[in-house]
Structures are given as C-alpha cells and as structure tokens.
C-alpha cells in the first residue's frame, strides 16, 4: 500500500532481465522501491533517469507498472523478538508468525572503527578435535569451510553451531535447497535450541538476486545482539559461492567488465564487507562467522575461494579418511589464523606442541603411505606412523567424537607414548616429563 508521502510512477523507460529504468525525481541512491509489487533497489541515478534492480527478476513486468519509492534503503526491525524466528531475504517471516516489531536499522551499515576493536581472545569450543585441537575457533573470527558440493558441509556446520557455546546462532542460507533448509530447521528443533536461532533463508526456489540481501540481513541481526546486548553471536553463511554467483549475475546485467573467472572486479571488497563484520567488541559482545564456500573440483585458485582465503582468518577442509571411512577436518590444509591467541593460554600449556607433533607424525604417515603405494620397503618407523595415523583419525579427529580439549590432549599423549619414543616425538622435555604416558 502506498502511503501519503511516497512517490508513485507508472511509466518505465527500459526493462532488462534484472533492472528497470524510469524518470523520477528526488530519488536517493540505494533507496528501496516496489515495481509492480516486487521489491527493487536504486543502483544508478543519471539525471532524472533512475535504474532499479528488481530482486525477484523482471519477468512479466509491464511498461506501465506501478513504481513506488519507499524513501529508505533496506532495513530490518531488530529486537529480542527475532530469536527463534525464520525469515526470507527481505526480513519477512516465513514461519507463519507475525512480523516482529522493533527498531528499524539499515542493513549493510558502517564498519567498526578498527581502533575500537579488541583482539579476539576467547576460544569457542566445539568438541571437534579437527577444530578445537588443530584449528581452534576464536570468537570474533571469520572462517569458511572450503568444501566440494558432495561433502556433508551443512551437517558439519549445524553440528559445530549447536555444540558451540554461544548466545545466538544466526543462519544466513543462500541458495539452500529446500531439503537442506528443512534439515537445519529440524536439527535446531531437535537440539531444543530454537530460542537462540534466527534464520534468514533464500532457497533454490527463490530468485537468485534476492540472495544478495541475506548476509546483510543476518549480520544486521547479529550486530543488534552483539553490540546492543553484548552477546556472543555465531553467524553461519551457506553457501557464499552462490552469493558470489548472484553478484556476477548483477554485474553482468549492468554491463560491467568482468575480471578473473567472470566475477566482478569488486568481488574482494564485496566479500570483505561481509566477513569483516566478524568482530570482538570492546564491551564483550562478538560476532563470529562460519561460512561455506563450495569449490568446483577442489579448485581453490578460482576467484571465489581465492578472494575468500585472503579475507578470512583461515579455512577448514573436510576430508573422508580412507583408513577409517570417517569424515575428518583435514589437518594439513586447514588453518585457523587466530588459534595462536588462545591455544596454550585458554587451553592446557602443552596444546601448541602436542598439536604440532601429532600433525608432523601424521604427515610422516602420509609419506609412508606414498612410499608403500610406490612399492618401496617400509621401515619400522613408517609402520608405526601408519598405525598412529589410523588411531589418531578414528579416536581423536573423527567429527562424530565430542570431547573437550583436555581430553583431546590426553588422548593424543596416549597415542604418542604408545607408538613413539620421546626422541621421535621431540616436544620440549619439560612437557614430556609431565604428560608422557608410561604404558
């Protein structure tokens, strides 16, 4: 419904697949409008010619469509009532409930002054050794899963979210299949965690360009809880590759010159604007982002994972361990850049050294495996590394195991003592004297 102060136009000058243009007065950049009832946003103003991006596409829009300018950029009404609710990309409820009331906030708002940020220093335990032990998650961090489409990344992410000790979990689903959406919903329900969940979802049934609103919506809600309420917020964004694809659709339709892999030249800044919302705030609140970037054929040099890798603070890879048949977080390629800030400080003193020693020995096992495959003879040491690796992935790394870091460290010590001598493990003597398990 048009309100008194809103301007209404009924003559479109041009229509493309995703945009419409018309003559209009006193329009603000980034302002929202409805075109024939569909939500659109101003993306270009040239004199009195205004171009609008229609989120759901322009199919069937006539040249005499009614265009109503709303006088403001996209907003979200924020309040505690967001908790437990499911929304679409426009922030409208899709769970049958009423639209929650609250303070209207612009989405995609300004950045935190870097000088006001605090250094991340709190571990977010997940019970998964591939994360807690080897690639520790820290509140205020941003980290994606780099996963092939066939890997169970959404399951792992849901598991991580539900185990993480946080106040709110906000899911931003982009191009989520309806099945996956229902999976998330069910997992959250089963865990009895609905009261701390907020979902903004664009499924594959919805138009792709709508996805562009999802991260900003999710992060506007996150900022409300982290900044206003000093809460620890975990934001899940899946799948950022589909988000980037939507960016390239829009830039293509705006006749922009594509750069690498047909992606817009601004991809880095576009992604950074989202990921950099991860923050440790001075008053205790924090936003942590776990995202999913699906790869095509494991290629991390593609523009999307490549730009992501330069922005995020590490990345996690999933891998099926061939010895045990279990999914693990790849100890070699995964990395958490912030782990140094917490390991051995918030966790037990031996954490950094034990982690490195175990990974080194695990790497030796992988060399031994190659040697074996190439038909070379294995030494006694090679054999022992192989047994260690099997034990390590079955009893520590497998993601279905849920134990705390101290238990992870103890289990690692047991394996180290079982298969190796102290010289082979080569950890600081002081730590070996204290923790070595005499069998």
């Amino acid at each position: 419904m048009a309100k008194a102060f809103q301007k209404i136009y009924t003559k479109l000058e041009a229509i493309t697949k995703a945009t419409v243009s018309l003559h209009a007065q006193d329009v603000a950049n980034d302002e929202l409008a409805t075109v024939d009832g569909r939500l659109a946003q101003v993306i270009k103003i040239d004199g009195d010619l205004v171009s609008l991006q229609v989120f759901s596409g322009t199919e069937g829009i006539p040249t005499n469509a009614e265009v109503i300018f709303m006088g403001e950029p996209p907003t979200l009404k924020v309040s505690d009532d967001l908790a437990g609710r499911f929304f679409n990309a426009y922030g409208k409820p899709i769970d049958g409930g009423v639209e929650p009331d609250g303070e209207k906030r612009e989405i995609g708002g300004p950045s935190v002054n870097p000088f006001r940020r605090k250094q991340p220093s709190q571990i977010i335990p997940t019970g998964i050794a591939g994360i807690d032990l080897n690639n520790t998650l820290v509140s205020g961090q941003k980290i994606p899963f780099f996963a092939d489409p066939d890997q169970p990344y959404n399951n792992v992410m849901a598991m991580v979210a539900l185990r993480a000790k946080v106040d709110k979990i906000i899911l931003g689903g982009m191009g989520l299949s309806n099945d996956d959406f229902l999976f998330f919903k069910k997992s959250f329900e089963n865990a009895g965690a609905l009261d701390k969940i907020i979902c903004f979802v664009n499924t594959t049934d919805n138009p792709p360009v709508e996805r562009l609103l999802i991260p900003d919506m999710a992060l506007a809600a996150a900022e409300y809880f982290a900044v206003d309420k000093n809460e620890k917020v975990l934001v899940l964004l899946t799948d950022m590759t589909l988000y980037a694809d939507a960016l390239s659709i829009v830039s293509n339709r705006m006749d922009q010159i594509p750069s690498k892999d047909s992606m817009p030249g601004s991809l880095y800044s576009d992604l950074a604007k989202i990921y950099e919302k991860a923050v440790q705030l001075p008053d205790g609140g924090s936003i942590t982002i776990i995202a999913v970037t699906t790869l095509s054929g494991g290629d991390i040099t593609h523009a999307i994972p490549d730009n992501t890798g330069y922005i995020t603070e590490g990345q996690l890879y999933l891998r099926k361990d061939s010895d045990t048949g279990k999914v693990i977080i790849d100890p070699f390629r995964s990395l958490s850049r912030l782990k140094q800030l917490v390991i051995g400080k918030q966790t037990r003193e031996d954490h950094p050294q034990v982690m490195n020693a175990a990974i080194r020995l695990y790497a030796d096992a992988s060399n031994a495996k190659t040697k074996m495959e190439n038909g070379f003879d294995l030494t006694d040491y090679d054999e022992r590394t192989l047994s260690f690796a099997k034990d390590y992935s079955a009893n520590i790394l497998a993601i279905d195991i849920n134990i705390d870091t101290t238990e992870m460290l103890d289990r690692t010590w047991i394996l180290l003592s079982k298969y190796f001598s102290q010289t082979e493990v080569a950890i600081k003597q002081e730590l070996m004297n204290k923790y070595w398990k005499n069998n």
Binding site: D30, G47, V112, K118, K260, S269, E276
Partner: protein, 583 residues
C-alpha cells in the same frame, strides 16, 4: 571564490558533478548529504561535467546535491604529533573518533592543534634557506622533529625573524621569511603536501650503498635489502606474508616504521594496536609503538580511500626522511590498492588491460616504488625510505598483472612458496626464486665485504648454489629411489637441508630465534658453510641422513639459545663431537 557544482549522476561511489567554474584533476571536493559532507576527488573532467570518486558510501545521495571544490588535491598534514598515531587512509585520526562504528563524514584532525611543543630554533635571522632546510626542532617522543621550510616554498628565502626557544602550538608562526621579491611569508610547524606528488626537496638521490638489517636470516644473509631500497613479497594466502611483515615491523633497524594496512584484515591491525604499545624495541629499549605510525584502511573501509592510504603513508615517510631519519614503509597489500584502481577504472568505463586492471597499472606502481630511496639532504646528511610491499596474487599465480608490474619496479623479490608453507618451512621465502638485485651493486658488495667479512658475498653465492644443487639431488632421488643413487646425492641433498633448516628457516614466534642480529647470522652461516665444505664418509644413505639430522637438530637448538650463552656453547661442543665422528 570556490568552484561549486551539483550532482547529476550516481553509480556506486562514482559521482558526476556539473560545475560552475574551474576544477583541477585530483582536486578535493565535499558533497553535501543531509547534515554531513562526503569527501571526494576529481578523477576525470569533461567540459563542465566532472567525475569524482567519493571516499565514502553514497547511500542516500540524490542528484542535485551541492558540491564544493576545495582548490587543492588530497593533502597530508605534516607536523609534530604524527609519530605513534593511528590514521585511516585519508589521515583521519582513528583514535579521536567517537563511537564503535565509523561514521560517514566523520573527519578528524590528524594533528593536535592545541598541544604545546618545546621549540628550539636551529637557524638564525639572516640565514638563506630553501625548501626542507631545518629552521628548528621540537622533541617528539624520543626524536628531534625538525621544523623545515615547507616543501611548497619554491626558490630562496631569507629568515627575517625566528621564534625564540619556548612552547608553541603547531599553528603558531615560528619564523618569517622573505622571498627574492622581499615578500614576507610566515612559517608554522605544520605544512600540507599533496600525497600523490613525491617530495623531492633534497640534494641528491644516490644509488643505495648500505643494507638495512631486518633480523630475518633469509633476507639479511641471502637477499639483503638496501637502506632506501625496494622489495616486495608476493605469496598465496596462508604462506605467512603477514607474519613476515610483522617480523619486519618489529625488528628492522629503522628509526621509524610506517605500516600501511591497505585493504587487509582488521584483526591484523588490531594485533599491532594491541601488541606494539607493549613490545620492546630490542635496539632502543623503547616500546615499538614509539617508532610506529599506522595508516589503516582495512578491507571493509571505503575502497577509494584504500588507494589514498599508500600515498598518505609514503608522504609521511618522505617527510621524516627530510629530517634525516631512516624509515621503513610496509604496505600490506599493494594488490588491494590495485584492485581499488580497477574498480574505479571499471566504473569509468575505461578500456581494460589484463585481468580488467587499468592500462597504466604498471606505470602507477613503478612511480610509487620510485619514491623510496636514500637521499642526501640539503645539509648533506642522509635520510632514507625503504619500501617493502606485499602482493596477493590471485590464485597464487605470479604471472598476474600486479605481481608482474611490481617485479619490474621493486629490486628485491621475496617469493613465498606454497610448497614451503605446506611443509611448514617458515618463513616460506623460496631460496631459489627470490633475489636481491642489490647483491649485484658494486657499492653494496663492497659494503658487505667490508662490514661483515672479506668473502661474504662469495659465501652467499656459495650457499645459494648448495641449495640449488640440493634441489637437483632431491629430484634425482625422488625419481630413482633412495638406494639407487650414489650416497653422494644424499650428502648433497642434506647439505642443502642443513642450510635450509639452520639458516633459511626461522621461528618468528620464538623469543630468541625471531630476530638474529647480523653478527649472529654471520657466525652461524659460516659454521654451516664450513660443514658443507667438509667431506664426510658414509657407507650408506641411512648413515648420511641420520648424521645430518643430528647436526640440524643441534644447530637449531643453537638458534634457540642465547648467542654465546652457556646452552649455546654446550650445543656447539656437542656439534664438534658429532662432526668428529665422520671426518
């Protein structure tokens, strides 16, 4: 009368303005938006239609908005108080902004105009002076900040009055000078300079002739950077670019470090904000922050200010160089700056070059690198700006435009190799691909051989050769198998591993190993070379491998111990014993 105009077109942060008078290319203007002003600068003029790039988000901007041109380009404000400051790319003081979020149009003064500084004149009435000549000094923290005749002053001037020793604000007149036409000009302690123009108020820029110590072995020993030199560090993500940059920022033997965080992660800058005020500078015992200036335009801050940030940083570096200081400027990452250029060029609908970068990318990069250098000031003292930039090559591919353009401009190339990072050989600087052109400068060769040891440069090439031969042996062994090659191949491989583990690798997180002074580097390097020159007897390859592993372990322990301390000496004795077994 200032030129004014009205907004006619808006596409993201590219705005067209219809103007009523003269404008200059790169002139700064302010666009009125509600009760704030958005800063922008002119990037293209076409008759009365002028294109400006806005340094902020243009959300909510309307056509018809008023624009006011300022009559000058983007300028840095230079004067006492820069040291230890934290600025954004446009030199707004981040610390004096209120609130957690950056507010659009919140421009804060780079310097405190109310603070009093103790000024001591060093020139006297009647002296003839030219731009950059020192008139007096104030104490800024630990350094004597020279008050100069501003760089903008052209020609010769005579001092007709100069302030007596005392406390002054930076805006106070501290001297009056007359030009050749007897017109008087007032000089204060603050001056402004357009960031995109190099400050060339010095006598001469010679070829660099001495090196800047960084405490990083793979740089100082293998590919040293000259004081006043240029270098760059390209590397895929996760190869330790940032750790290496931070190591340089902490350890380099410069008077002042300027960190330009250009389009990178905010948390990395937070690390500097948090740690540098606490960490000691081993050379002076002062806190690291006391010699640091941060220019921070992280990836989520406005894109066009990203480009400005590296120029702002360079201008401040040149300003301190003119006072005779040794400055190290670090920019992380110049690729983000190039991407900012690309975004703008794209919106201007310019014909793109390779990977959609602007055609003049290469020229822009070399121009920027050329601003570094060691100079003789007007009074024959030296000052220097050493510049090291990082490059983030897309997909880790060094054949992309930014890396290639930078390679033409920078004299040192520190390539970070994914394979080294994967096998945790840090710093992951590739010993074979990397180079320092300065090792070919006769001046530098002479300097190194004189200050370190007589055969130093010959020793360095010998070490590089050992690494290269080791790599060849490694490939042979991999193809033929451990026992199908002569033991000598293993010997060759492990000699290169010895150089790698003991010299090239360095633990940036270990209190002692993180920084190795040149004396220590020389001692260890010559020891390693001695071993490499020795012929050992092995009956089989296992003996060879075990032997070198023991040596490596022992010498790494030496690296972790206080130089010539008890532990160090014990490990050294043990090393002698191991060596004797096989001679």
């Amino acid at each position: 009368m200032k030129t004014t105009g009205k907004v006619t077109r808006i596409i993201a942060n590219l705005v067209s303005v219809k103007v009523d008078g003269h404008v200059a290319q790169n002139e700064v203007c302010y666009i009125k938006l509600d009760d704030t002003q958005l800063m922008a600068d002119v990037i293209k003029v076409d008759g009365e239609k002028v294109q400006v790039q806005v340094y902020e988000s243009t959300r909510g901007l309307r056509v018809g908005s008023n624009v006011e041109f300022q009559g000058h380009m983007l300028e840095a404000t230079l004067g006492p108080g820069l040291l230890s400051s934290n600025y954004d790319g446009l030199q707004n003081n981040l610390a004096s902004m209120t609130g957690v979020f950056l507010k659009r149009g919140d421009y804060t003064s780079p310097l405190d105009f109310d603070k009093l500084w103790d000024f001591t004149p060093t020139a006297k009435v009647g002296d003839e002076v030219i731009a950059a000549d020192w008139l007096g000094e104030v104490t800024e923290g630990w350094l004597e900040h020279k008050i100069m005749l501003p760089f903008k002053f052209k020609g010769r001037y005579k001092i007709t009055s100069i302030a007596a020793e005392g406390s002054y604000k930076i805006g106070d007149t501290i001297a009056v000078v007359t030009d050749e036409n007897e017109n008087p000009h007032e000089v204060t302690m603050v001056q402004r300079w357009p960031v995109k123009q190099a400050i060339t108020a010095f006598r001469e820029k010679p070829r660099p002739f001495r090196i800047m110590e960084t405490g990083v072995r793979v740089i100082d020993t293998f590919n040293p950077i000259a004081e006043g030199g240029t270098g760059f560090i390209p590397g895929p993500f996760g190869c330790g670019k940032t750790v290496l940059q931070h190591a340089l920022a902490k350890q380099a033997s410069a008077d002042i470090i300027i960190n330009a965080a250009c389009g990178e992660r905010a948390n990395e800058v937070v690390e500097i904000f948090t740690e540098f005020p606490e960490l000691d500078d081993p050379r002076t015992g002062r806190k690291l922050m006391e010699r640091t200036i941060i220019i921070c335009n992280t990836s989520n801050m406005p894109v066009s200010a990203r480009e400005a940030s590296v120029y702002t940083a360079m201008t401040i570096a040149e300003y301190y160089r003119a006072m005779g200081f040794k400055i190290l400027l670090l920019a992380d990452s110049t690729s983000r700056w190039a991407q900012a250029l690309r975004e703008m060029s794209n919106r201007l609908e310019e014909l793109p070059g390779a990977d959609a970068f602007p055609m003049d990318l290469s020229a822009i990069i070399s121009n920027f690198y050329a601003r570094a250098g060691l100079v003789y000031l007007n009074n024959n003292q030296t000052g220097s700006v050493t510049f090291i930039g990082t490059v983030s090559p897309a997909g880790g591919n060094l054949k992309e435009p930014v890396t290639e353009s930078t390679k033409k401009a920078a004299r040192c190339f520190y390539a970070l190799a994914q394979s080294r990072a994967d096998s945790k050989r840090y710093p992951a600087v590739d010993p074979v691909d990397s180079y320092s052109k300065y090792l070919e400068y006769p001046e530098i060769i002479e300097y190194l051989n004189k200050t370190i040891s007589e055969n130093w440069t010959a020793n360095v090439s010998e070490g590089k050769n050992i690494v290269l031969r080791g790599r060849e042996a490694y490939e042979q062994i991999n193809i033929l198998g451990d026992d199908s090659v002569p033991v000598e191949y293993h010997d060759r491989l492990w000699k290169s591993e010895l150089v790698d583990y003991v010299i090239l690798q360095q633990d940036a997180f270990d209190a002692i190993d993180a920084s190795a002074p040149l004396k220590r580097q020389q001692y260890m390097y010559e020891k390693v070379l001695d071993i490499c020159r020795t012929k050992f007897n092995f009956t089989n390859f296992n003996e060879c491998i075990d032997f070198y592993k023991r040596i490596i372990n022992n010498m790494r322990q030496m690296n972790y111990s206080v130089f010539h301390g008890d532990d160090f000496k014990n490990y050294e004795k043990e090393l002698e014993k191991i060596l004797e077994e096989r001679i």
